[in-house]
Amino acid sequence: MLLPVVEYLPQTVLSRLEIYMTLESEWEPRIVGFLCKWCSYAGADLAGTSRKKYLPNIGIVKVPCSGRVDPLFIVKGLRMGFDGVLVSGCHPGDCHYQTGNYRARRRLAITKEFLEYLGVEPQRIQASWVSASEGAKFAEVVNEVTREVREIGANRLFADERNGTKAAKGS
């Protein structure tokens, strides 16, 4: 069950997040992955074509560059009840636009640390460099991230009742 993929208008990002939310079953980690179309996204593709198996818990949003990932995407992902957020881009030095991933790195560093300071578990915000040729690495990243997120459990950060049974009502 590999989740579908989208292009990257803000509206589409948002509506795509919504579609992923509708998965209903026993609790399974749900992870949203923002993948750069030049590398990690192609890496995911390669994982598929080379029949690498990886866990189906990730929904992919294609972005033009990891530098496109606004911290708002990450926070909004958590707000909508995703259990983890993965941002993946090109290795340093390989950005299609020269510098996008360097900028993403800076932004991610403060976003991650700051959210942890607020009380978000570190495992929920993940990042990786995966190139177009690293299909195997992509599969590994997804498996690892899923495992870590599974360990910390469901995201109840934005739920009104944290320990209750009411589901996080997203927006």
């Binding site: 948002l14 707000r79 340093p92 991650k112 640390e113 959210l115 300071y117 009380g119 993940q126 927006s171």
Partner: protein, 319 residues
């Protein structure tokens, strides 16, 4: 302080008379006890109302982006850093401002005075600064407090009492003597909590927020013409003051001003419902320093933090 005040009035008058500036922005006495209010004027007769006292709380650089023309502006250390930061962001042209700097001794936090005296601010007769002590008079009594007990937290940790950038300095430069422990008191409490406790803490704090946006509007670093919370297509955050939306607003606001926030503490002071916002902004200030060795508003020629990168820097969190 009286001398500084007289010199300020003289300098401000001269600037207006000689046509070096179109406006003067400073402080005049407020209408309530122990308050001041921003004075923005073109009239040289108004300069007599300019004051300098331990209650000049506003960061006046917030007005710079809305005025046309050349401006003479009264600043404390932290405010000057905000101006430097605005210059870095090309929001203010250095040549268009005449910066009148105050070597700042710190400002008195009236909420703390209320706490130590058990009196409301309008019941106090006088608050006076004597050396390293603050004397408060009320009900015919006189009580003396060490400055540490009544100054704003951010003033206690001030790294830059003398303005970083100035054209006129009203007095001798003051060396920095930051008392980190005192200024981090609220943050320390949070550091000692588990992530779950911290999240619950903020959840509780933000459930009080009424979304007046005073924190954003007093902030010189928040200079966007249109804030992301006002976007409705797509609507990332609802303008409804639910704690979830309030918290997201504040998280993203802090990320937006990372590398611009100078820890002036205005957001926390302006908040009408006492949300300890500085515990967020100060942490971001520290983070930026830890990760990128960057302090906002120290060097007007520095490249703004978020438009820049180093080839090698913090990435051990990336797989």
């Amino acid at each position: 302080m009286k001398e500084m005040e007289q010199r300020l009035q003289k300098e401000a008058r001269a600037l207006l008379e000689q046509g070096k500036v179109d406006y003067i922005i400073g402080f005049e006495p407020g209408s309530l006890k122990f308050t001041t209010t921003p004075l923005i004027t073109k009239d040289k007769e108004d300069v007599e109302r300019l004051v300098i006292n331990p209650f000049i709380v506003n960061n006046l650089s917030v007005f710079l982006t809305e005025l046309q023309g050349r401006v003479g502006i009264v600043v404390k250390g932290c405010d000057s850093r905000s101006i430097v930061s605005l210059i870095q962001d090309n929001k203010v042209v250095r040549e268009d401002v005449v910066i009148i700097g105050i070597p700042c001794t710190g400002l008195i936090d009236l909420s703390k005075v209320e706490l130590v005296t058990g009196k409301d601010r309008d019941e106090l007769d006088d608050i006076a600064w004597q050396g390293d002590k603050i004397t408060v008079r009320f009900d015919g009594e006189e009580k003396v407090f060490p400055t540490e007990e009544v100054l704003f937290d951010n003033c206690l940790g001030c790294e830059c009492p003398t303005p970083q950038e100035y054209d006129i300095l009203l007095g001798e430069p003051r060396p920095a003597a930051p008392n980190l422990t005192a200024s981090r008191k609220n943050l320390e409490k949070l550091d000692g909590m588990s992530s779950e406790e911290r999240w619950d803490f903020w959840k509780n704090e933000f459930s009080r927020c009424i979304r007046c946006y005073a924190c954003r509007n007093v902030c010189p670093a928040c200079f966007c013409k249109r804030c992301f919370v006002e976007e409705s297509e797509p609507q990332w955050v609802l303008p409804v003051p639910r704690w979830q939306d309030n918290l997201i607003f504040q998280v993203i606001r802090n990320i937006h001003v990372a590398g611009r926030c100078t820890d002036c503490g205005e957001c926390e002071r302006a908040c009408p419902v006492n949300i300890p916002l500085r515990s967020l902004s100060k942490r971001m200030y520290e983070l930026v320093d830890e990760l990128f060795q960057f302090k906002a508003g120290m060097d007007k020629d520095a490249v703004p933090l978020m438009t820049h990168y180093e080839l090698e820097e913090a990435e051990d969190f990336i797989r």
